[in-house]
């Protein structure tokens, strides 16, 4: 037979030929030194490539489920990172900003990001725990259905930010004063 072209020889090496052609080429390789060498070269290339990729696999860091952290542009994503950041900030100042915001903007809800779905925070952790990378073993079970995901986001929000309604009036006022002092301005009094 004719010497097979590179694609056919590779298909032979990959076990991608029908039996008849495969047998033909096997016989041909036995007889043709050039093609035997070509066939062996494919094996060498494949081995080197597989080994290299296996080394890369082995160099994989431990698995984590956390928001991507290396790209500055991610910080611009509205609800993925912003929600987490907002929750952390809110927690840090005792929910005060939200109290103030709620009061001054009358009818807006006290929750943070209105749209959950870009899931930067997956798993059964609240956003406050989610800042560093989370080893996957700590994130059991994962919420994967969108319904369950929404529920978890809602829970996370509840646990991270105390609803304004549950703060006594005097505390709201005090917290607003603290915030105003930080901002260097006096809060407007609303009805």
């Amino acid at each position: 037979m004719k010497c097979p072209d590179d694609e056919t020889l590779a298909a032979f090496a990959d076990g991608e030929l029908d039996d008849a052609l495969w047998a033909d080429i096997e016989r041909h390789i036995d007889a043709c030194g050039v093609c035997r060498e070509r066939f062996q070269a494919i094996g060498q290339v494949d081995n080197a490539t597989r080994q290299a990729l296996a080394a890369l696999k082995a160099s994989a860091p431990p698995m984590t489920l956390a928001p991507a952290k290396n790209k500055a542009r991610l910080l611009a994503r509205p609800f993925a990172v912003a929600a987490a950041a907002a929750i952390v900030i809110a927690a840090a100042i005792g929910g005060v900003w939200f109290a103030f915001h709620e009061r001054s903007q009358a009818h807006k809800p006290a929750v943070i990001a209105g749209k959950p779905p870009e899931p930067a925070l997956i798993g059964s952790v609240t956003p406050r725990q989610a800042e560093p990378s989370i080893p996957v073993t700590d994130v059991v079970p994962l919420a994967c259905s969108s319904e369950e995901y929404k529920k978890r986001i809602a829970e996370a929000k509840r646990s991270a930010v105390m609803p304004v309604d549950s703060l006594p009036e005097w505390k709201v006022d005090e917290l607003r004063r603290i915030v105003a002092a930080r901002r260097g301005s006096v809060p407007e009094h609303d009805g």
Partner: protein
Amino acid sequence: MATEKPTFEEAAKAAWPTLFAAAMVLTENRADAEDAVQETLTRSCAAYGSFRGESVPTTWMYRILVRIAAKERVGHEVAEAEYEKVPSLNPPPDALAALGEEVAIVLDVLRSLPRRQREIATLFYLEELSYAEIAVALDVSQETVRAALRRARASLRKALGVETHERKVPDEMPG
């Protein structure tokens, strides 16, 4: 499919090393690779409910990674034609030295392949898949898979210094 669908966590754990290695090839550097894998897990977690087990989860996630990585490289794609012509003068800046020179060479060659070839060759070498499975996973024809693998192998062979005779078309056998 006869086998039961694994939980997302099981699937993600099994896919993790492959996705990481693939991302190292499909993106420009380790930081981008880690981001791309994270995003792949996030998206595949959200979409896992709709995954019907038509392929192994790793292949399904690879497909998601491919899309993310392609977007990531948009800037590079524009200059890809040029990029292919320019041999890389520096080793990839990924502290790959510890993994050996051959790893760096292979990674360099795979990264420099045109996008489709790169995606096909990476899946082929990382997972033991048939041409048909790769074709389905990446929405291409089997002929495309064959041709991409031939070209990728030729590039790898040159870079790795494996000497051989090339035959684009069948020849009459001498004698």
